[in-house]
Amino acid sequence: MWMAYGFMMPAAILVAVLMYWPMIATVRESLFTTSFINPKPQFVGLKVYADIFSDPVFWQVVRNSIVWTLGVVLLQNVLGFFIALLLNQHLPGQGILRSLILLPWVLPGVVAAILWRFMYDPQLGLINSFVLRFGLADRGIAWLADPSIAMAAVIFVAFWKGFPFSTVIFLAALQNVDQEQIEAAKVDGAGPVRRLFDVIIPAIIPVAVVNFLLTTILTFNYFDIIYVLTRGGPLNSTAIFPTQIYEIGFGQFRFGEAAAYGTLSVVILVMIVAVFMLIRRPLLSHREV
């Protein structure tokens, strides 16, 4: 028993030093007026939080973070699932298709974002050249400069970048679905749609739950794409927690406020995950029945 604890100690110490201590230090820093120009900070308790809550930009960041996370997670998982279904058929050239589909995911986030910034360019972008050629608008659309559509534009890029991840996970799950059950359903006269909803989806629910959970956490904390495409603008319409924390901390040297934003982002993420876990329970229990 003690030996087991002994073997666990190095890993436990590493986790404590590299993960929990910075987290605790961040929460502590958020209670002080820490900024670069104020290196001897004063304890102000929850004042930093009170100031943040009274700032309309914070609520805009909360709304944006939720819309961004839900948008990207739903799109990338739904499309990822359908592409996995296609790739699970025995199509000719299946190996090449599987490799090609991974390309967006393999690209570094910054590279993908720069690529899409060119594609979205109002004057020179590929997307606007199609829009103009097909007469959908009389001049180039400013995809990233219009506050009413900028969030949709950045969600689309993140979805394009992330769907291969979901596809790969779903594909692995689909390949583990018991073929005998599918055959049995066929014998019982179940068509493809019935088989999908009554056999395949229930079989992959545990994997889908993990997939949704992982992509939710990754998307909520995603920084590169929005920072490169819009830096949170225009008019804060695409500002989410990671971009806002970076702007406040490293853009303006206001470390205390950045720490408070960081703490709040963890709280909100935990709340989203908690809601998710609540939804997950009936889904899994339904499957067990």
Binding site: F36, I37, N38, P39, D121, P122, Q123, L124, R139, G140, A142, W143, L144, A145, D146, P147, A150, T230, R231, G232, G233, P234, L235, E247, F250, G251, Q252, F253, R254, F255
Partner: protein
């Protein structure tokens, strides 16, 4: 026995030699110098050559140069300084200088300047102003440029039948702009920006300065609601109708691409743009920005200052290094903007740039951005103000909101 004596004597001499070398090495001061690289000019190679020269002149000092790419520089320098692992001497952006001074991270150099060959008159006035804060001097200007040169595409002007020289006044530019703009054929008069970045701040500041206004008055209060500033901001907003669409996410780099591919008739860039234009097939010319009729264009300074860190145990060596790097015969070799030393700049411009006199005059007239320790927050507020006014909020209303936010900092 004599052999043993010889062996002992030889060993003693060898030991003494080793100790002497070791002692000399330990007496040598190691100076850590950090800088960033903004352009593909091969700067680090030239800096290393200059460092060799410095080490030859100062054999007791060894310089360790760390060159960091511009996008990472702020974060790495700030993290290191905050953690107490900063360099002995480094470049800092003009807009960080006051914050570093207020934080106590760097030392005031007034006494060192008084006892050295460095004199404020050797530098561009606006550049020297950028190292001052609360009546003290906190560094020495290293390199500079003005973010308000109007580069023109002569072919597009000729096509439109406009004299490029007419754009040096607000009135002339506004009169020329319609003829230079044809969105259906992908032509625009001028590249302006309104994204979340320093560029729209620098551009609007230049307009305000050229109209006789300021961002912060002598008491540090916001002056964006002054008639001069409002008139300048109104002008900027009006001119965006002749700029490419998507102004709220338009960055300077995008405007540069559009100028290089012949879409834009005018781009606003620092003089460092010239080598890129020379290697393009554009027939270009440059003017020192534009101002209302009868006024002189005043651009916004950008650039870097050399500072000595409070935590440095080698302040004397650091100051020697600054004296060396800003010397007339060295400054031009070690910067990738324009040397801040006027004589070095003059020689550099004569050799490397078109219209050196125009550039020199513009550098002499230029002003730094507000010298506030909270500059980065001031800038953020100005960025929001520009985005508000470009998305429909009346200029006076956007400026009033900005002033309220700035004065509450």
């Amino acid at each position: 026995m004599p052999k043993l004596k010889t062996l002992l004597a030889t060993s003693a001499l060898t030991m003494a030699g080793v100790l002497a070398v070791a002692s000399a090495a330990s007496a040598q001061t190691v100076l850590r110098f950090w800088d960033n690289q903004q352009t593909e000019s091969g700067l680090s190679k030239f800096q290393q050559e200059a460092v060799k020269r410095f080490e030859e002149e100062n054999p007791d000092i060894k310089v360790e140069v760390t060159t960091i790419p511009y996008p990472e520089y702020q974060q790495r320098l700030l993290t290191a300084v905050q953690a107490g692992n900063g360099p002995d001497v480094s470049t800092v952006d003009q807009i960080w200088n006051a914050a570093f001074a207020e934080a106590g991270a760097i030392v005031a150099v007034d006494d060192l300047v008084a006892g050295s060959s460095i004199s404020p008159e050797d530098f561009f006035p606006g550049a020297w102003e950028s190292v001052t804060y609360q009546g003290k001097t906190w560094g020495v200007p290293f390199n500079v440029d003005v973010w308000f040169f109007a580069f023109v595409n002569k072919a597009l002007f000729e096509e439109a039948g406009i004299d490029p020289a007419s754009i040096t006044t607000w009135e002339g530019l506004e009169a020329a702009a319609p003829a230079l703009t044809d969105p259906a054929n992908g032509r625009f008069a001028i590249g302006l920006t309104g994204n979340k970045s320093e560029y729209p701040v620098v551009m609007t500041n230049s307009m305000i300065y050229s109209n006789g206004g300021v961002v912060l008055d002598e008491n540090g209060k916001c002056a964006l609601t002054s008639p001069e500033a409002i008139e300048a901001l109104e002008y900027y907003k009006r001119m965006t109708q002749y700029a490419p669409s998507g102004i709220l996410n338009a960055a300077n780099e995008q405007m540069r691409e559009l100028f290089l591919n012949g879409t834009l008739a005018i781009e606003l860039w620092p003089a460092l743009e010239q080598p890129a234009l020379d290697s393009s097939n554009i027939d270009w010319d440059l003017y020192a920005g534009f101002a209302p009729e009868g006024k002189t264009p005043v651009g916004t300074f950008g650039g870097w200052n050399l500072v000595v860190y409070e935590s440095s145990p080698n302040k004397e060596a650091a100051w020697k290094f600054i004296e060396f790097m800003t010397r007339e015969d060295v400054n031009g070799d070690v910067v990738d903007l324009i040397p801040a030393n006027v004589k070095a700049a003059s020689a550099f411009l004569e050799e490397n740039r078109r219209k050196p006199d125009v550039i020199l005059e513009h550098l002499n007239n230029a002003k730094p951005r507000p010298l506030s320790p909270q500059y980065l927050q001031v800038s953020e507020i100005q960025q929001n103000m520009v985005q508000q006014m470009l998305s429909g909020t009346p200029v006076e209303e956007a400026a009033a909101a900005a002033c309220e936010a700035i004065d509450n900092l």
